[in-house]
Symmetry: D3
Subunit: 341 residues, 6 copies
């Protein structure tokens, strides 16, 4: 039995009727959902109000970000419920399947935002990234060829820009070149190339993510001085420190500030501007886990899937994720069972 | 000898030094340019102050738009100078080579603006045009497959959108299909297709230009009611009436308004947001004429080139363009010479 | 020494002379081949006549499908020979290299057949998948983005159709998007998308293969009612149950039947229509194993290659494949040696 | 006022309701349409029954093919009505805009049919045109690089075949190469290339159209003998004689016959198999003329458009098309007015 | 009847047998051909020996270049024969269809030669134009976007280089952009762009052809000083003066010299290195004219085709091409008949 | 602290100043570098002079090729230093990351050289690989679809050639087809295909590398006899025996010889002609290891990275690579520590 609060689906552009047709039972309030359901799916971490309704027999599957919120952690521990956190689901190779969609969106959005900010009325250089017949296209320099960087390169190349993609891993560049269009050039990320390319950039995109640690500063304040006036920097990893010395977090409401004549955009949650796309993408990624948990129970599902089991942060009052325990200063408890696959 | 006022080139991103290196003589004010020069190049129509300095022996080559400004027409007639208007330079087939760059920019910008306005914080549907693996891309519907429409289709397709291009001329669609990527589909523009496609659009772009006459209304207020809430309409021809009943001109500063939940963007001068690109594109198009006028004089150049001669609007106090004469209620004088080619 | 019966190669378009030039010895009958050879290569399972000539010292490498044919299993056990079955050769990741070529062909053929059946004289909707300038292309909906589905998408996109590819694995869709043309859109396979896309399909291709188990029913009879009259369904996995409720096996001779106005094509062996291509593709896949077996003997080859060793179904009267043993109710014997790699 | 007989639209997949919504008035029979209307649009030539209802004040715009049907010509002359024939509408450069859609379809269908007939059960070589990784693709040889040939090449290349396109006009090949994918090679059509390529073809497509005269025979019976057994020939111009000596017209119901082991497909009306696509394509092409005739009357429309005026075959009992007059042995009357544009 | 001297076809890779099969009669010497034939086809201008055998009733169709060879002109006048020169066949728009193939080859060869000369052992910069994953590709700068320039751009882009294409005609750039890959950028050819791009070039290709007049010098000696040491310049129009101040003609045998550390390649006849390709391309272009002349006689063919008639340089002792007459100081005689089409 | 000898960077096109700016200290001679530094990076093996300055506390990271140079091995053992050889760095899957860039270059260069040698003045067939509109492109046959073969195919396809890629591994062909353009066809490498394709080749490229063993001879002398006169063979693996019977090593200075009319190019070090590109590519590949060694010391770096540890050939006088030990007849010492990852 699948419950949803009426209208919850509107944000994602799905009508209540379609929920009903798909077999869901609509109730009037989220509170009713918490009251009736055992397994609760959300996108954001639980609100204080929701925490009050969470019971020991609840399994909650959502973004929690406990490590940076010890209060939330304590509150959830107190509920006695089970918390499986999207952000720590991780496979043996270190990929985090529930974060990939957000990275894909961030890479694509970074170009869309940057193209807009290059317009004159926004304070930018007043150029069109695509150029025109007889007018050279703009230069987009992307630092990092991971998921974010490759998605940014794809969109920038589609716009017709001259795209320059840097990474410290030549194998990553090899893979990127094979599937990206010929107006993407790849470069080893070293000081020589960085200096030359940053100075030539119309749009500079920071796409450096070092899982679990702060990104290195690749673009210093001093390098800004060699950039073109009115160039734009978008750093997609500003919430993990970013790779641009002068970058600090901004918001969709107030996205921009200037340093030395260079536009800085440090929107921490780029995907937040396209909620329908983001919701669908996240659902696509969580669905297989949701089905497993719903059909086998959280224990069965986690025992059968090591990737999912890494998402278990709190089990009935015990913190079972080492990183979370260390961050909030709580005691770490290993998982009470073995996992396979 | 080529004169320029100091700093005039900054807007286009060219330093004074580069002007000097290219052989220009820099003077301190525009007034000095008018005082010294015989052949004057501008982008916009002359200001009142400039008109006061224009002499009988001046040839002015710029956008004038006399037809919609009878005061300017009268003032220019009074100067006794020669006016060659960018906007009426026209070849035998009716192409206007000095307007094409603006149309190319408008088509490309329309997609860039539309993609941005689809973001949730702008009031849009909150979708990413490109979609993602597993999330369908957005639908971009483009009314008109001329220069504007083909350029819009090129950029929208590059972003990965599902592009639907309509026109009433199947030959135009044939030519478009041959060079556009496979995610562009073409359709005859008829009521049946219009109704179906407008209703499905995430981004609807008006690109209907009927040279010399008002564009027909293709999207009625009633059709808005069948569109998706939060969809975006950008009409690139709003200054000629546009093809969307509810569209009215807006500005880069205040680009948007809502009708029935649909975002309307009617920026009349989309190219104005990318002045560097626009300036370079315009110069590329005017340069061959500039060289001809500078080397052969305006009479020689116009006698030798029928396309350019159609740009002659006013010669020493006489209106020589029939359309301008009719619009401002002045007397029409035919060109005082024959032209060839 | 390599023997072949005269004319055996004609079906694959290779002349006897070319066999001889390549070093083969041609004999008059297949019986002579069995009499002389030790290691026998075929495509189909052995006929009753051939079984009578198989000796204990024979190694037979072909498609056997013992699991669904207990009589053949018993007969082969009685010969005392060694049977290595193409269909169970399987690598550690579960890929079956000798089945992949058949899947590639099935995916490509499914589009070719579907395009034909959409013609009016066949009972189809009377549309051309590619569309035309001014006439929208047809919608091809493909259920499953594995080998079959990706090959179908490639061909449908090449034809210019609007292709919609669904899968429950977003990673599979990611990989597919990277290499397929932009007129392929990808979707998470869920009830919402299925309902919407199946209803819009001109050609619907079932490409769901769950190795070793029956495919789930994704398209119910009820959903047929929302499809367009004259739409076509081709299910490539009908022999494993298929994913369309109303689908049953058909043949190349009598490929089609109608349910509720929808054309159903359930040809179980699509590759059978292109025997030359299929033979060459199969040989390409088997050749490395053939060389290993021929040069090292079956035991050496299987000891050295775990993938090949999984193909060992029967060894000198003992069933050595657990699945076959269970299916035919025989006793399972583990392999009499260890394998590596 | 626009009349249509109920259900007339079903063949094109448009519901009666959609006609009504678009402003049409539905009547029960075609006879009522003839009785009420003045300007009649059809696809095929009028039936005997329809001829009986055609009045002097009728303008009929359809395919007539009078030149090959003197009885129809006489009957229509007797009605006193005006006949504008799709097939003779022709611009100054000799293009026939109402025939182009049929040529586009014929080119695309020729590949679809040929791919199917190459299947073993159809008698073909048993190969898949696209090939597979490791198995070479099939060779498609196309005689003629006009509209038919370029459309055939586009689809064959999309399938992944090795495409060989011949023409006697190197400029035509230049234009084709610029927009076709790299697996299309172009060749001067001369005896040397013809002999070599015809012998290598898996699928040979005749696409030679010489407007107004019989196509030359490029493929002789003798050349068949050097072709591969089971190769397929599709001649799209069989109704104008075709370019293959052994080709004769066939039908969708009985499309194939064999000569010297080569499959011959001479379906005269390939577009007939995709009536919805063909109808829409034809309407797209005729619509601008229909609007002109409906708004300005046939005389006004033809006076204003030389291309359309060439479609006037019979005016109130007089034959006004020289070719028709000569073919049926009637008297030719020049148009009773001048035309421009 | 078609005659050829034995072995004449070997250079083009066609065996004598194939000539015979095509209906030619092979004789032992070229002299026999001249003795027997009336209409003589060649590639190069006639040798002194051949001139001695040319009779009044001969029509000779070949490259003559009379304008720069007054001795040849006089000798040919003396024969009394008819000379139709490939190089002056010209259509109304000024295109020279028999020169286009040579321009296509020159553009493609220029990149092939330049890539080779960039190798270190040749004295070049020691770079690979295509670059590598992680190593930026080389910059190819092409001056002129006509036939030569577009063909050069196509090949350079295919190699993966960063291609920069300049022209003074923005329409030409528009057409080029539509069909060239996205790693080709287009630029207005002005001093600013020239200075910047020439300095950045690894390979600079001169492709400026002004029919009938000397190309302007775009690259001065002074600009060489700002180029990279070891960069390569290939000028395809060196025989018409070229557009590089320091360029002078070189040969395939001794293709290169250095000025200021820059490699100069001024091979006048690039197509001479690929004679088979060039011969076939030339034959493709001449064939339609050859057929017309052979079937209708030179007079009939020229009367019916204004393009061909411009090739008539000498008729029975009279110079009929104004340019030739002026160049060699002979008397000009207009054509003795009118031409149409 | 990073030392470099002045001017060492010129060959790679980097100025001394850029070294200094990047933090390097420039000294006058290489000897000073050896004197001051502990960790020494080179490209080639140490010269006799350098060996004399190598100390026990030096770690040298370069290409050594000890296995084929026992004298160098003995000399290096005597220094007591640590030798890490680029050529034996190898991951668990057998990939050699520091050899890949050289293979990429070899594949690309092979086409560049081959295209040049096909020119008539070089002795080749006199054809242009790309062909022209109306003239078929050349056939490039590539033996082996590994790194070398795929890179060759990419460039040959970019030139517009008809590319035929062979391999014995159908999975490799599958991967290749997915990312290469449609003018690349793939084939199983068997005697039948080899015979047919070698005979049709204009350019034949040997790209067969069997790590650690001699390549098999695929092209025999006898097969040369069936090739076209003037065809070109480039074998990229000639230093490992090559796959062409008649091939022997040649040099950039004297690259070619003829056997039976076929041009043979056996340049052992194709990358040597593009030293700038090669240096940058090699640095990209070595950089991560250099950073690890510099920051963690050679022992730490090798303990932490099994791939790098396989590069350890000699440690303080002891040979620690089994292959080297066996080749030079020295004693093998296992690594004195465990490695992980």
């Amino acid at each position: 039995m699948c419950l949803s609060s009426r209208g919850a689906s509107h944000g994602a552009g799905v009508a209540d009727d379609e929920y009903i047709e798909a077999g869901a039972i609509l109730v009037d309030t989220a509170a009713e959902v918490f009251a009736e359901a055992e397994f609760i799916l959300k996108v954001k971490d639980p609100s204080v109000g929701e925490l009050a309704t969470i019971r020991e027999d609840h399994v909650v599957f959502t973004f929690f970000h406990f490590a940076s919120n010890s209060e939330l952690t304590r509150s959830f521990v107190d509920t006695g419920a089970v918390a499986i956190a999207y952000e720590t689901v991780e496979d043996d190779a270190g990929n985090r399947p529930l974060l990939i969609p957000m990275s894909e969106i961030a890479g694509r959005m970074a170009v869309q935002e940057g193209a807009k900010y290059l317009e004159g009325p926004q304070g930018g250089r007043g150029i069109l990234l695509s150029g025109l017949p007889g007018v050279a296209s703009g230069d987009v320099v992307i630092l990092g060829a991971g998921v974010v960087g490759q998605n940014a390169a794809l969109i920038a190349a589609g716009l017709g820009a001259s795209v320059h993609l840097l990474d410290i891993n030549v194998n990553q560049l090899r893979r990127a070149e094979r599937v990206l269009p010929p107006n993407v050039s790849t470069y080893m990320s070293n000081k020589y190339n960085l200096n030359k390319l940053v100075a030539s950039a119309d749009l500079l995109i920071g796409a450096v993510l070092v899982p679990g640690s702060k990104a290195p500063v690749l673009v210093t304040r001093e390098m800004l001085g060699r950039m073109k006036q009115g160039a734009v920097i978008v750093d997609t990893a500003v919430d993990q420190g970013g790779c641009v010395e002068t970058m600090r977090p901004t918001t969709h409401a107030d996205p921009l500030y200037f340093v030395d004549g260079i536009l800085h955009c440090g929107i921490a949650n780029l995907a937040g501007a396209v909620p329908r796309t983001a919701t669908m993408a996240l659902c696509n990624a969580t669905l297989p886990y949701v089905i497993d948990i719903a059909s086998q129970g959280w224990e069965g599902a986690c025992q059968g899937d090591r990737t999912l089991s890494r998402g278990l942060n709190i089990i009935h009052g015990k913190i079972t994720h080492r990183g979370v325990a260390e961050s909030v200063g709580g005691q770490f408890h290993p998982l009470p069972f073995d996992t396979k696959r």
